[in-house]
Symmetry: D2
Subunit: 503 residues, 4 copies
């Protein structure tokens, strides 16, 4: 039983690192209608600032084109992508990669969609491509705009699946050439790396030493964070163990820790450009309420450790491990196909309803106040990953009491609930027989089931205070809004007379 | 405790009389944006066939215009109105009235908006107007279309507030002249009356005798039904006693009963062109869950008594007793301002989700089956009006058990609930201090609170049957969908492994 | 023949006074769907900053309500109106009037919709109303926002039709009481007057003397401007003579001239809160290309004389002289019903495409340059009003040559044309037999006919210059865009080979 | 000079074969936002009944999936595709192909997107796939619906690029197995072939003989038609010679001719499931007005020769020869990227405005009458392909006179024009320097330039007739609407008084 006593003055300010960035499937998928509808919904309910994904320079974006002896840089799809992002108020966080096959030094690829992971055969050709793309973007969107788009060099070069032999020296060569090329276009453009996966934090130090030694430009440090253990395969799926949430926060902190003593790098922003529970696009944990409650403290408090942490990914339009075979399939998305909201979507949508002043925080809650005096409480059942035991063995309720001072006579409360049976399309989908291709009526039912349950009430203040008791169900994330109420005068109104009973 | 045992074969067919028609504020209001947005929502969720309201010929529709010696019939607003209706799939149920002041015999008016209630000074002028309007509609929308629009002559001529001196002979003169004028335009146009208010049922017989004696055209018989007693005024509001629901059904039956032995009239369709609990546009009962549960049997079973019964009205854009002074004000609307759904809206939206085959019905439920095998159960707490005692003294729960045969292994259930605290914006509004002009954030909260609460579960069949126990809360109307489920095969899937626990 | 030689450096900056404000029919009409669709279109194509109209406090806005002994201020319609304005990016320019009948000292009214034009029976009651409205607006939209909304006291008090006896002393009393009431709510709110009609400019001086003598708050000076002579009535219409365009510009200048030596008033902004050719809502001149060409220099150059000049009105949803009887009826609107664009709409839409730097101006043209180097030329046939002779006797063409320097090889030109037969729905409507209530197909034809004709070409530069010859047709307003072109390389492309003819 | 004398009675009925079907890029592209926006526009302006394209069963649709030993049929993308089609009122014309790589007998592929063109390794596996897909579609959309979707077996098996070795016997084996599998699902499903490219018409006879000999089900015969000669490559483009339009009509006729004496096949419908001028997706002819005028008689009269003829394709979202490198690039689309309308789009949009009664037809025109008495004239400059000489050497005008009887006093005319400089975004694009990636402002200019120029006038009848003289510009296609006019009475209206000149 947690007891929250809300003070009268704020204890801090809620920074916006939690919505600074979100991940996406490969950039070609940004041309899809389902993707764009999903992004529009995400932006309307959550409002991320940046979006980052792989494959900007891969063949299916059609940028690097050759015919006979002629080379063209072609921007039809790039422009469609950026236009569609800006139209819904999100900016690109550019990741430069993978290698266009026409300029690659080898034929190794990653993913079903075959991103080429080899260095350029000719670094000058690569530099010309990077500069051409940036100059085009500047001419179309203006330097002032493009200078706000971070540019990250490659993805997870510390893994052999993403970078030929995970060759660190070759990555540093790529980074150096690319960073200089970018600054040559314009010195205000922002470049960074090394975009590593978890478990190779030494790369942060090595990268810092390299750029210091070579006077290479760098504007931010980036890396990834995941909480999952080794993969256990099933057909079209994966299970994994999970470390506790603090594991993720520790990873968020790592880049900042590693550059603390690295001279001009020490004050640079650090970006966690990917994070999630599991790094597998077919682990069903992503579809659950557990995922939301597990990540609640990570999303709520991550801003203390990094300048951004980008949920991987905003929707299930994603094809790294081939095209999914089932409606729910353990995809990364906050949204499933057809804009069906998963529990973790609600966690983010709840965060978007929080105020700017932090009033209280703890292992199962964050309380904020708004300019207009309203309080919002984000609360969750605290979870620990695999140490919780078999899925579903967490307690069936979690109790919190809240003690609020109230200057008016009354406090109205509106609560939205997401747990194993509320605001949970995945549970409804299981009850409906786990249809791989739901019909249109079932899609409507899933959409209804994904709506958080709303409860509301009002409380009379006693001695200027109101005391609330909250019960959270298993794996619950809940948002409670408390509104000081001054009742308006309706002369003669008396609900007791509604059936004509004269009192 | 009701016990429903659902048979394997249907007992009847659910006719569509319940959505044949809906009422509206005066026709000029059809030009309003809030009105049109409300009608679009109603049509999307419910789908009425016809819409009927007053004031088609009143001055603010601008149809009958005179300047110096020139008379013009002007259709700018009429066309906007009809175009907007057809665009959302609803047809006009034309009510001819009130009198354009330029051709009226007197200056008596009704309502804040001053509809002139006197006979025409010159019946020929009236006939020319009626014929001009109909000819215009036919030229714009085609005879085949217009011939499907019933044309009702005047409104409640049995009341002195609506027809000068409630002069029956004068009304019959008006009806006769109008009906002949209409048939002169085209014999396939449908005309009817006498559109009387409750309590004067002798008019049905008198009207029948008149048209038989004078060989006057008539295609349908119409009248109104309300359940409320005398008005108890408060500032900007009214309270009234309520007769039980059967009172309304008896009124629905009255026109059919009265024409049963009236020769060529005996088989004519009968239309209840207005009904509601209270006939006052400022009685807060309209905003309540009580109103929905009270009317549930009326809406569910009314089709046994009349060919249509038109809920008065679809939205709160309505000005008969001046412009309302508060967001919730006891208006007739299924929707409040800004498309906020009232409980009775959900009753209709639930009916729109029912199947075509009746499987069971009773004083607290209606069960239907769909083509695809799904069952839908509409259930409600049975209510009796003022005899229930002070508002809120109905029992806090109502129990129903349902016994269903189930050919598959499992039955999924999705339930939507509306009662005093679920799907109830009015209750939330009271908790929020009854704001007369809610701010934008409060409007969002009211919209969230108006969403029915969704619950879902699945049941294993035992011996081919499933037994459900339902508890309804006070004043609840609920819609339960039962879906036979065949689980799909997902090889290897095992929710127990979600946290990586190898079993 | 005008010769325009465009210099290489700008001669000035185009201020935005031309789109600072636009007029509207009475505020109740802002609730209409046709109105809101029209305003959305106007804002998308033109983008006015403010909108001003009559009747904010009239009975049909429902703000001042009394029942028995209870008074309520009710904001349902006011909020709908302001919300709808802000949603399309335009702010209210508040005009306080007319008198709610419940607090009026008399029963005199103006217009078909009966705005009460008498002083308040009790000035304290008026002050309470004004303050309540402003406090409500501030609580809903914030003081920072509302403080940007000018507040004008009454309309044309110098006319007996708008203010009982055109009593100047009584108006000054009203102004004084209102201005002080406003500043009591918040000193940053902006108040002004005297909102007079043309022909009584002495009121400007009297008003200035009054406020100086009484230390009355005032933040801006306002008045109106029209170019038309006495009315010649026909059934449902009016004809009038027209003074030349300069007449309007002289009226624009008048308030500024009259306060030049009035102490603290001398630097106040001056707003022409209404202007048009004719002040009659049924003068067909408003529907013509003549109206657009006549007003072109007024709209283009008016910003030299006043801080705003508000075209009266943005659309034909307007009922001062009763409800119009015909689709085109000489209404004030830039848009006719159903969003049909009139020629003067295009004049404004063309202005919205002008650049910020003035390169050249003259009696038949205005040339601007954009940040990206494009030039835009607004040109028109110069017109003089009634002195032009019978309508249609202006010359059938008007010649202009333009000499432009061009740093690239080529200049592309895109021209949009509006004249008696291009971009002219009114002409098409006449050809179609002037239908009073056009059917849906005819409405489509009118919409097509209202589209400006687009012409395009490209010109090779000779010695760094391009010389264009433009011919304008009768009553033409045209917008020409000149774009410096650098042709892109398409290796091998040769239009001569399109039919496979190998060269 | 053509002289058209329009008779008083129709000479025939215009059938709807011209809009029976349209082509599309591979089915995976149907998931794209630009594609769906384009299809919505096409359907709104033209309204095709069916849509056909390649790659339904290719890997990027994700239907045939294998993991370890498990096979799944997965319909996520298929459902998104069909849902999106039906939502805009177009049905799929199913083409079964290409081979999922997981069941292919070889690795040969066609196109940049690598459609596998080899027979199945195991025909039983293929049959199971085909049946699974059809059963899914029937369960989701209903048999009544799916039975209206033609199913075509493979594409152009007579070409080695599309079918391994163009092996006729193997194709017949595939056809036979597939047709029988389809009929096994349901006998009402419609199956056909052989979907051959032009120049191998003997296949029609061979196919007929085969199915007759083997009693193979067949419901329609299909093939393709193109007018272009051998390819002349340039970088990222192609030029070709063109045969005259009659060449296409002859090909339309071929299947019907070839089955005339083939027993039960003789009355089968024949579908030209692809046609265009050039079969290359990078031949700039597709972007021109020439293409529209050349195809005008083909589109207008093709319905005399075949039951459908499907323009290949509706939009430029198409990747067969890799991703296009330039905005205009000679793509097949009626629409370019971003919904920019090409001249041939207007040809189809004009056809959609034609009436049902044919009044006159000839080598440069088709005249129809509508139910309401309006006449529509589609006229064009007749063109002959490469025999016209170098592109642009056709005459600069083409004259037609039209003699119409007119029962009213007046005839209103509205004309829309598309030619080398009107309604022609491609010409404007060339003037603007052929930008490969136009900026947003240029896209707006192209959209404006793509709007047909509208002209309107009215003519007084003399002796009940009106005589019109039309001049068409080079490569023009024009639509002329003639509307009998009865002028309405506006008492006192006199345009001569518009400037207040009293007559």
């Amino acid at each position: 039983m947690t007891q929250i006593i809300i003070p009268t003055e704020p204890t801090g300010v809620l920074n916006q690192a939690w919505r600074q960035c979100v991940g996406t499937g490969r950039m070609n998928l940004a041309l899809r209608a389902d993707y764009q509808a999903s992004l529009a919904k995400v932006q309307s309910d959550i409002g991320f600032r940046y979006i980052r994904g792989h494959g900007l320079l891969s063949d299916d974006m059609g940028i690097f084109r050759q015919a006979e002896s002629v080379t063209r840089y072609s921007y039809t799809y790039l422009d469609q992508m950026v236009d569609s992002f800006l139209a819904v108020g999100v900016k690109p966080f550019l990741e430069l990669g993978f290698m266009p096959s026409g300029m690659a030094s080898g034929s190794d690829t990653v993913f079903w969609w075959k991103g080429n992971i080899t260095p350029p055969a000719d670094y000058d050709q690569w530099v010309r491509l990077v500069q051409a793309v940036l100059r085009h973007l500047i001419s179309r969107y203006g330097l002032a705009e493009v200078a706000t788009w971070p540019i990250e060099v490659w993805n997870e070069p510390n893994l052999t699946v993403f970078w030929k032999d995970a060759d660190q020296a070759e990555y540093f060569r790529l980074y150096d050439a690319t960073a200089r090329a970018i600054k040559q276009v314009d010195a205000t453009l922002q470049v960074g790396g090394p975009a590593i996966s978890p478990g190779s934090d030494q790369w942060y130090s090595d990268f810092a030493d390299y750029v210091l030694a070579h006077d290479t430009p760098v504007d931010f440090i980036s890396g990834h964070a995941y909480a999952s253990g080794p993969t256990q395969h099933i057909p079209f799926g994966t299970y994994q163990t999970l470390e506790p949430p603090q594991w993720l926060l520790d990873q968020f902190a790592s880049p900042r820790d590693r550059i603390r003593d690295k001279g001009r790098l020490s004050q640079l922003p650090t970006h966690i450009t990917e994070f999630n529970t599991s790094y597998c696009p077919d682990n069903p944990i992503h579809d659950t309420a557990y995922n939301a409650a597990f990540l609640a403290p990570v999303v709520a408090f991550g801003g203390q450790y990094a300048d951004s942490y980008s949920y991987w990914t905003f929707c299930d339009v994603f094809e790294e491990a081939n095209i999914p075979t089932s409606f729910f399939h353990g995809g990364f998305g906050l949204l499933g196909y057809r804009q069906i909201r998963k529990p973790t979507y609600h966690l983010y949508a709840f965060m978007a309803k929080m105020g700017s002043q932090i009033m209280s925080s703890g292992p199962d809650h964050l309380v904020t106040r708004h300019e207009d005096g309203r309080l919002t409480i984000l609360a969750w059942q605290p979870l620990g990953g695999t140490s919780d035991g078999v899925y579903g063995s967490a307690p069936f309720d979690h109790h919190i009491t809240v003690d609020v001072n109230c200057a008016t006579d009354r406090l109205a409360m509106v609560r939205r609930r997401v747990n194993e049976h509320m605001g949970n399309a995945w549970t409804a989908w299981r009850e409906l027989g786990r249809p791989q291709a739901p019909d249109l009526h079932t899609l409507d039912l899933l959409d209804e089931a994904s709506e958080p349950v709303v409860e509301h009430a009002s409380y009379l203040a006693e001695n200027g205070r109101v005391n609330l008791e909250l019960t959270l169900d298993q794996h619950e994330v809940t948002l409670i809004e408390l509104i000081p109420v001054v009742a308006e005068v309706h002369e003669g109104l008396d609900d007791g007379r509604l059936l004509g009973q004269e009192n």
